[in-house]
Symmetry: C2
Subunit: 251 residues, 2 copies
DNA sequence: TTCGAATATTTATACGGACAAATTGTCTCG
DNA sequence: CGAGACAATTTGTCCGTATAAATATTCGAA
């Protein structure tokens, strides 16, 4: 009962905003058209410019209009767009690994992408990467949680030398060491039969059900700088995600 | 080159905002403490109240402060919180099913949750649900994409009678028919061996790799009103998701 | 000491005015 | 017809002032 009709304290500019919202919703001011100018609104609502502008600010926040000097207030939506958002404070949270897990590096070295790997990595065949192979383990259980292949640009190869390497997501280490920040990330989840080499490393049967998660990290100009491929045996990993109906993510 | 240093046109209030941001970041105004009052800022920056307030508005939008009448401006963060957000305009988009897929209902009827089902549905054992079982198919391929179990509250059972039933997400149909809106949704993805009954229906081997996706839809007061469990054979479904670094989701 | 009323402080809302900057349209000149 | 100068319109920025509402503080009474 704290977020439902009745909450909004009354005030002049809120009233004006509400009436404009209604007019937009009902089509009096259609999408693509202009709202009346500030001067006109001042006259029709008998309010000061400050008050009118405060009302229009609400419409901007709701994503109903955009305003530009010399042009006016353009209606861009008839209703506040409903959005479902999922937000995390760090991509580590996104992965949903608890702090009790860590990576146990098996080996690392340079590798050149063949046609198949290039497809997974969404890069051109022949491109060089630095590959880190590791087993993800938990402090709590003896059995490994999964197998991780981490591909990073060769210039970032030194991340393996960091003391916190096994406990921190590699993309965060790259940010700390080289200033490369993640602007955008992508995840793919699919199921496959467990490949033989990974099966051997994890101690499960080849061809048994495996969950594979591919994560791609992009920098400033959509530059792909890291890809991780994680493969989990049955029962060792569940991905969960929540979405909230809202226009802005909750902090 | 359109979102990097240099973009911000200079103006009085932006300058003040920038200096306050810096002071907050450097700890001059620590988290939990109060910023100077509007009157003090007017004096120290030789600006009008309007200008000072405009500057403070920027800090609010960045999530650095909250303001309350009679109290002041409380610093709540030293830096704009970095958020990674994933947003969709409708939960149908979230599912990533293209429009060329549809549900082919096999059977439907009432069911009472036993202990095991109650765990999946996160409800008390003994609760009644209306279950719709269907095969998800594509216009393009002969092979079925997966098996779907849809559990809805019994009062919503009539959704199966809708003509568009097979082509529209059930939670949207419930919204249209009963006004029940989704405020919050949850997804779980894991791998398991294909259960025998589903294997039979889909024409694949029992125990072969299967991707299972559980989606829970919650209404106004966290009331769970629909759960769907979808099971896909290997190679028939890949879940993908993008996340953007931003404080607010892109419309 | 504790509770409540009165007081002080601070932001919220609202009015007025002025000039700058951005955009569009018009007009003139070649 | 096209380019550039000019004018008109509209929002952006900034100043001043006043009153209301929300919160914190002070102080008196029980």
């Amino acid at each position: 009962m704290a977020d439902t009709p009745g909450k909004a304290r009354s005030s002049r500019y809120r009233d004006i905003a509400a009436r404009l919202q209604k007019d937009i919703r009902l089509g009096t001011y259609a999408v693509g058209n202009l709202l009346p100018t500030e001067t006109e609104l001042m006259a029709s609502y008998k309010a000061s410019r400050q008050t009118v502008r405060e009302a229009l600010r609400i419409l901007i926040e709701q994503g109903l209009i955009v305003r530009r000097a010399g042009l006016g207030s353009v209606v861009i939506a008839a209703e506040p767009p409903v959005l479902f958002t999922h937000s995390v404070k760090s991509l580590g949270e996104w992965l949903r690994y608890s702090n009790e897990t860590y990576r146990d590096v098996v080996q690392s070295g340079d590798i050149v992408a063949d046609r198949k790997l290039a497809a997974h990595l969404k890069c051109e065949p022949g491109k060089s990467w630095f590959l880190i192979e590791a087993v993800r383990r938990s402090d709590q259980f003896a059995a490994p949680l999964g197998w991780t292949e981490i591909y990073v640009l060769r210039k970032f190869a030194d991340v393996v030398k960091r003391s916190d390497h096994g406990r921190t997501p590699v993309h965060e280490q790259i940010t700390k060491m080289y200033g490369q920040v993640t602007e955008h990330a992508q995840m793919e989840i699919f199921v496959r039969g467990m490949p033989a080499p990974i099966a051997k490393a994890l101690g499960v049967k080849t061809g048994s059900p495996a969950l594979t998660v591919v994560r791609r990290y992009y920098g400033q100009r959509e530059e792909l700088f890291e890809v991780t491929i994680t493969t989990h045996p049955e029962g060792r990993y569940t991905y969960t995600m929540d979405m909230q109906r809202s226009q802005r993510p909750r902090l």
